[in-house]
């Protein structure tokens, strides 16, 4: 034991440093002041946010870009409650973050003191676990266990609420004694009998499809997935958060499944006789109507979270294990699957529906979002880390930006949090300073958290912002067009002049209205140091196709209306 007396605040930072933390995102306030005062004595970079929601999204973006635990700090009361959206976002997308909040003095708890709120009670259902720390002796055990919980198993957010007196009072730091307690046995290796059964199903399948989700990246199994696919030749469909788990250019990567997945992907799933689900959770945006979902298919489901097995879709073989371990256990026993006819069938589906309205959209003076994303992909050579917001632009990004590497698409999937992109992009840039980071946002979501532009400027973090500006809350407008007889209730949206806004922050910006101007603007933005805003004034009432209406059968897609003729060539 280090006999030296330290304050709880000092112990907090000492533990964070020992856990490998170098950057935190936060906002000071009364109840967290002792911690901020102590922070100056530790090798920690603090990024001052403009709203605590931004701090959580930044920690989230940081975690998703790097695989490390992101850390957000806030004060009690409103500082803590402002974090709720970001914590829920991280929970739904299994993102490892640790949130540290100040709390009023332990004697004042329960008295409705100034800026007191029950943040551990509030975040109970949206954290993996949380702590209320009222003594300096409990700081180190809470921090160590919090980091352990956040990054192991199915990752997720953990919150530590520390009273002001626990930060101020002193004790000796007992690092070894604070090691995380073993509450349950460690994860065992994959069950051999279940793996054997899965391999039998794979060998016998005529029309198999692999469904790859976020777990491929969270479980660090991208390499193993590629080996699995090379060995078997199985076709792979990916979830939104699974994008990047297998290179988009991989010949067996079909693309994204689900509500806005390509028609051939969803059709292949519906016609398949075996689904091999790896680190995904059969979300309703992925399955459509569960009663008619892949009716002829047997299902193998591999997930680290036992509660996901059989939750939405009954499975024939459910394996609760680390995906990497499962793929490695399968690897020596795999043989090439004899599925030439099935692959030919998928190619036929592809040809018939084939891509991509993209080159068929008339370049008639209008600017289409699909073109913007496509040209952005071209101009960045597919190498950018793209962080999207939520809505139409998110789906267009997923459809038209080809991600070759893991962790190169960062997006709020499960919770669908508007306002996520800009702060998460800032977090990603802190994690990966050498990466080219683009925030692709809609005009709605951008206006939710655009205050964080000042954070990027103050911290000199270069994030390129592409606003897909259609003057509507586009996805909601699309639903109103399709399902509410075109009554646009509260979806027309006014934006400020983003070029002038950028000027106010001392940033470069440009408004783009024609396709010819897209690539030169993106290239100019790439050459410019610092944050740049590109305001793409796209076609206002364009919709995302194809679309499976909520609750409809997966193969019942709304297709892009004629007269646009779809062809197979890639632009």
């Amino acid at each position: 034991m280090d006999a030296k007396q330290m304050t709880g605040a000092e112990i907090l930072w000492e533990c964070l440093v020992r856990e490998g933390v170098t950057d935190v995102f936060g906002y000071p306030g009364g109840a967290i002041l002792p911690a901020y005062d102590a922070m100056l004595r530790f090798p920690i970079r603090h990024i001052l946010v403009r709203h605590e929601q931004g701090a959580t999204h930044m920690a989230d973006g940081y975690a998703r870009a790097s695989g490390k635990v992101g850390v957000a700090v806030a004060t009690s009361g409103p500082g803590a409650t402002n974090m709720v959206t970001g914590i829920a976002t991280a929970m739904m997308d299994s993102s490892p973050i640790v949130c540290i909040t100040g709390q009023v003095g332990s004697k004042l708890i329960g008295s409705d003191a100034f800026q007191e709120t029950d943040i551990t009670g509030i975040t109970l259902p949206i954290t993996k676990h949380n702590y209320l720390v009222t003594r300096p002796e409990d700081v180190a055990p809470a921090v160590r266990e919090a980091f352990h919980l956040a990054r192991t198993g199915r990752p997720g957010p953990v919150l530590i609420d520390i009273t002001k007196d626990a930060q101020q009072r002193s004790c000796a730091l007992d690092w070894e004694g604070a090691a995380p307690a073993q509450h349950k046995p460690p994860l065992p290796p994959p069950d051999a009998a279940l793996c054997g059964r899965a391999l039998e199903l794979i060998a016998a399948a005529q029309r198999p499809v692999v469904l790859a989700g976020h777990g491929v990246m969270l479980g660090d199994a991208t390499r193993d997935l590629q080996d699995f696919i090379s060995r078997t030749g199985l076709p792979v469909a990916v979830t939104l958060l699974g994008i990047g788990g297998l290179p988009a250019s991989h010949p067996r990567n079909l693309g994204m499944m689900g509500m806005h997945g390509e028609a051939w992907v969803n059709t292949a799933i519906q016609e398949s006789d075996l689904l091999i689900a790896l680190g995904m959770r059969f979300d309703d945006r992925v399955t459509g109507n569960l009663k008619t979902y892949a009716p002829q298919a047997k299902k193998i489901h591999v997930d680290i979270d036992a509660a996901e097995i059989g939750k939405n879709v009954p499975v024939d073989v459910g394996i609760v294990a680390d995906l990497k371990d499962v793929l490695q256990a399968w690897q020596p026993k795999l043989t090439r699957c004899d599925i030439g006819r099935w692959i030919a069938r998928i190619d036929e589906l592809k040809g018939d529906s084939a891509v991509r309205d993209i080159q068929n959209l008339p370049d008639d003076g209008h600017l289409y979002a699909a073109h913007v994303i496509h040209d952005l992909w071209r101009a960045t050579h597919g190498n950018a880390v793209v962080v999207t917001d939520v809505g139409q632009h998110q789906m267009w990004e997923a459809q038209y930006y080809k991600h070759e590497t893991p962790r190169s698409l960062i997006t709020s999937g499960g919770l669908g949090t508007m306002g996520f992109a800009l702060p998460a992009a800032i977090g990603a840039k802190v994690a990966c300073p050498d990466a080219e980071v683009w925030a692709v946002v809609g005009d709605g979501g951008f206006q939710m958290t655009m205050a964080e532009l000042a954070t990027a400027v103050q911290e000199q973090l270069a994030v390129k912002v592409a606003i897909v500006n259609n003057g509507y809350l586009g996805m909601v407008r699309q639903w109103q067009e399709f399902f509410y007889d075109g009554r646009y209730a509260a979806t027309p949206l006014l934006s400020p002049d983003y070029v002038k806004l950028a000027e106010a922050y001392g940033l470069a910006a440009r408004a783009i209205t024609t396709r010819a101007d897209v690539t030169p603007s993106v290239e100019a933005a790439r050459r410019t140091k610092g944050t740049v805003i590109l305001d793409f004034r796209v076609e206002q009432e364009d919709s995302v196709y194809p679309m499976v209406p909520a609750g409809a059968d997966l193969h019942q897609m709304i297709r892009r209306p004629s007269p646009i003729v779809e062809t197979g060539a890639d632009a």
Binding site: L124, K184, A306, A307, G310
Partner: protein
């Protein structure tokens, strides 16, 4: 359908809240919950009765295991088990009805624990059906107050087997070869 879980939890502040919040959050309804200390320091035992169908049972169990302080969850729904409910019933009783009520108490093997000029307090331990039966019989005399603990359940026998595997009933205490407890996620 009523599902009975016995949940061993670490005795930490808020652990009951975490279990109750989880059940609510996942859309189930708690029919009854009892908590008490066990013979092991720092370990509490809950009998949790939840309305959950066949398909939801393993999922709820898996969710319970995700709580850090949950050490073991046993589903006793289909296991031979002893279940008890304790009730105290205050019933109106004047000298004219007291003897009759005392006879009923004898028949139900209950006990009178307090006698007052105009009331009796009766203590009964048994299955819920038995307690309900006594309540039905006492109702005509005028029930003034009832207090029930909710169900406490314990599996019969020293150990049980499920699918041929020995099923321990004690909280997980660190045995590496204990295959019957789920791991942390």
């Amino acid at each position: 359908m009523q599902t009975t879980f016995v949940v061993h939890v670490e005795d930490r502040p808020g652990v009951l809240n975490r279990v109750a919040s989880l059940v609510r959050r996942r859309g189930f309804n708690i029919e009854s919950v009892t908590v008490g200390r066990t013979e092991m320091t720092g370990m509490s035992r809950m009998t949790l009765v939840v309305d959950a169908d066949e398909a939801a049972r393993p999922r709820l169990k898996a969710h319970l295991y995700k709580l850090v302080h949950v050490r073991r969850v046993c589903d006793l729904t289909d296991v031979p088990a002893v279940t008890r409910d304790l009730a105290m019933i205050k019933v109106a009783a004047d000298p004219s009805s007291r003897a009759e009520i005392m006879q009923l108490v004898d028949v139900f093997r209950a006990r009178v624990v307090d006698v007052a000029p105009e009331s009796l307090v009766i203590e009964i331990t048994g299955t819920e059906e038995k307690v309900d039966g006594l309540l039905d019989m006492l109702r005509p005399y005028g029930i003034l107050e009832t207090a029930r603990t909710g169900r406490v359940t314990m599996a019969r026998g020293a150990v049980a087997r499920q699918n041929g595997v020995r099923q321990p009933r004690q909280p997980w205490t660190g045995a590496a070869d204990d295959a019957n407890v789920a791991w942390s996620v």
